[in-house]
Symmetry: C2
Subunit: 462 residues, 2 copies
Amino acid sequence: MDGQISPHSDVIEALRAELGDRLSTGASIRDLHGRDEAYSTPHLPDAVAFPETTEEVSRIMALCHAHRCPVVPFGIGSSLEGHVIPLQGGISIDTSRMNRVLAVHEADLDAVVQPGVTRKQLNEELRATGLMFTVDPGANASLGGMAATRASGTNAVRYGTMRENVLALEVVLADGRVIRTGTRARKSAAGYDLTHLFLGSEGTLGIITALTVRLFGQPERISAATCAFPDVPAAVDTVILAIQSGLPMARIELLDEVQMRGMALYNPDLDMPEAPHLFLEFHGTEAGVAEQVAQFREIAEEHGASEFRWATKTEDRTRLWEARHNAYYAAQALRQGAKGVVTDSCVPISALAEAIARTKSAIAEAGLIAPLVGHVGDGNFHLSILVDPEAADEVAAAKALASRVSHIALELGGTVTGEHGVGTGKMGYMRDEHGDALDVMADIKRALDPLNLMNPGKIVEV
Amino acid sequence: MDGQISPHSDVIEALRAELGDRLSTGASIRDLHGRDEAYSTPHLPDAVAFPETTEEVSRIMALCHAHRCPVVPFGIGSSLEGHVIPLQGGISIDTSRMNRVLAVHEADLDAVVQPGVTRKQLNEELRATGLMFTVDPGANASLGGMAATRASGTNAVRYGTMRENVLALEVVLADGRVIRTGTRARKSAAGYDLTHLFLGSEGTLGIITALTVRLFGQPERISAATCAFPDVPAAVDTVILAIQSGLPMARIELLDEVQMRGMALYNPDLDMPEAPHLFLEFHGTEAGVAEQVAQFREIAEEHGASEFRWATKTEDRTRLWEARHNAYYAAQALRQGAKGVVTDSCVPISALAEAIARTKSAIAEAGLIAPLVGHVGDGNFHLSILVDPEAADEVAAAKALASRVSHIALELGGTVTGEHGVGTGKMGYMRDEHGDALDVMADIKRALDPLNLMNPGKIVEV
């Protein structure tokens, strides 16, 4: 403990008796669990626990409850709003050893997994079944973390977010009790929907120790494409018309001209013009995909699309989506040593063109570099506002721009976070977004965690 | 008040000053609000309020809160588990005058409605737009009531239940505060999912005063059909294989041979054999529907299906689905003067065949008449156990059978209520279904309604 006595030394001793060397107070382990991918100030846990079973999580929680010690669940640390930072120290519960696929029910199109299973791992294990898990936030996140943050990503437009893709949960409560929410039945009207209450609760109400997730059959045909547009409004209008026409696209992603410049710098082999692009994917039968592609192409060409490139082979598609998933790093290539302040606006599709136009005006006014990418089929888009983390005035200007952009989303009937979650980064907007409903969230937090031990200081102050 | 002084005469006086003749204490009005379609003991409210605006609901709630008077929201009274029965008297808040469609956002595929709008009314008002609201529980229920009970029905297999079809709510809390949950954006990760908490909360946590619901484009082609099977297992196996093949059917309903006999008695023009049937509907493009129909037919014929009848004209489809929707009344035709004790099992699709087989064995053992119908694509099916309501032993036998059938669903990993809700009728199963999670529901109830004034005695005891 770096020579200091932890205020939680009693519980640490008790946990070490329970977990042996799966309880760590080493500096490097604690450091890894004191930060995430966000632009947030790190804070160390007093210790990190590596449970392997639900029963161990339950005993850890009961001990921490008895000792009034805060706990923060940790998946793989890919969250973007400071969710996993132990603001008050205490125990970081790392679920990476709870990484077993417990059951695959092929006939029911569902799987039961431990929270440390990652999405790529699950899809590897599913490969022989012809089924797939569809939620894809880019990072190879843990499913527990994705559930806790209500994650989504590139193909939510077709298959839904974690909200639609989790049927049931096992959760350990603040005092160590283990509950099960929901069943594997496809629908239920049996009382309060606790599954959805815990989805997106970011570890503030309980720790997810198992999830039942939906699976889909792999489509007969997958076709991916990119195309360039003369300007962002043309690309956005194409998206809006495609969505409104009911085209069941699996992915439809916007990357603006600034982002494309970053991509070219980051990956010179990409060889794509520095113009706004859509990255697309179509799933279906052979005939269905052909029909979708033809309809989409007609809409896009009416809006001046050019430079269509197609990828039907798996390796070409993989390359295309890896380029998209590396957008955050590509953005940083625009400015050496810069960090990105990330925004996460999501608006009704009818307001998307205005939201993006106003957002780009705000960037220009601020005089900052802020590439834009988005899951625009859902009305969701991100900026990565590039700043020198050492320049206080720049950081302040970036935060002011992020705030302006978030309020534009609210003014247009949207949300400040489509998929990244609240953590600490978006807490300042919660009153503006929710009004008095935030008090109801606080009531629920107090009811389920009266001692405020579960990831304290996240989502809502109590 | 039938010559008695109501314990709530103060609040009634205050409400009359507020609402004038939209506050009724007349015997027939109170009687109408003391019962639903369930086999439940009626209990009268002290008065019935007919608010027209959210502000009026808020003032009613604030007054009732100040006077410690229970309130029960009332849609059109088509619920099936005693949800709207004011067990402790107080004020029944009838939302039938809150029946305006507030906005239709064609570009966003959503509509904002007051809770008294019925599903048929909404679809009438949408007709010119080419859009449709899809959740269809049979009865022309109010959307507020459907949201409060997490209703679904015949085409949930394709378009989802109220859980998937409500994006945002306006809710009046126990003390009269008005909150908004969710936004019109298609997804959000902004804190606790209060929308899903209130969906299915049956008026025990707040009163829904506006809903934002999802709409879908009307399909280019709709084709409906019925076909007969040699026995129930053949029909069920057809359903399972069709679902597992990913056939995107809009409706797939099972009616067993007992139900079909009731249909023949109730509607002699129907002219269908007294054999188990599937009632089906396919939505899509011209080519897509043809493809689905061919695939389905192949599966069904492998299982001995015959007597295919097709309905593509609107009036023929309407007749077919009216016959299905009248199944409850048709069941009663099997026995003059009988009432139905209704069950609502829902299981994983892999367990459906076993669930139905064991359920039909239990009926045979009980020696009762209990036709079976089901939204079998979701794994959901109902019995209507016919009893003479005056014969205490029969009623007891029917309740014992209903209990056995509900436990079969639980034993197979399902739920005792796929879509009807808990009300009072299913409260006795909640501990078996939820275990310790029921205590979390009670914690939430106490947090949001500390005085236990909101539809007290429903879902969970506090």
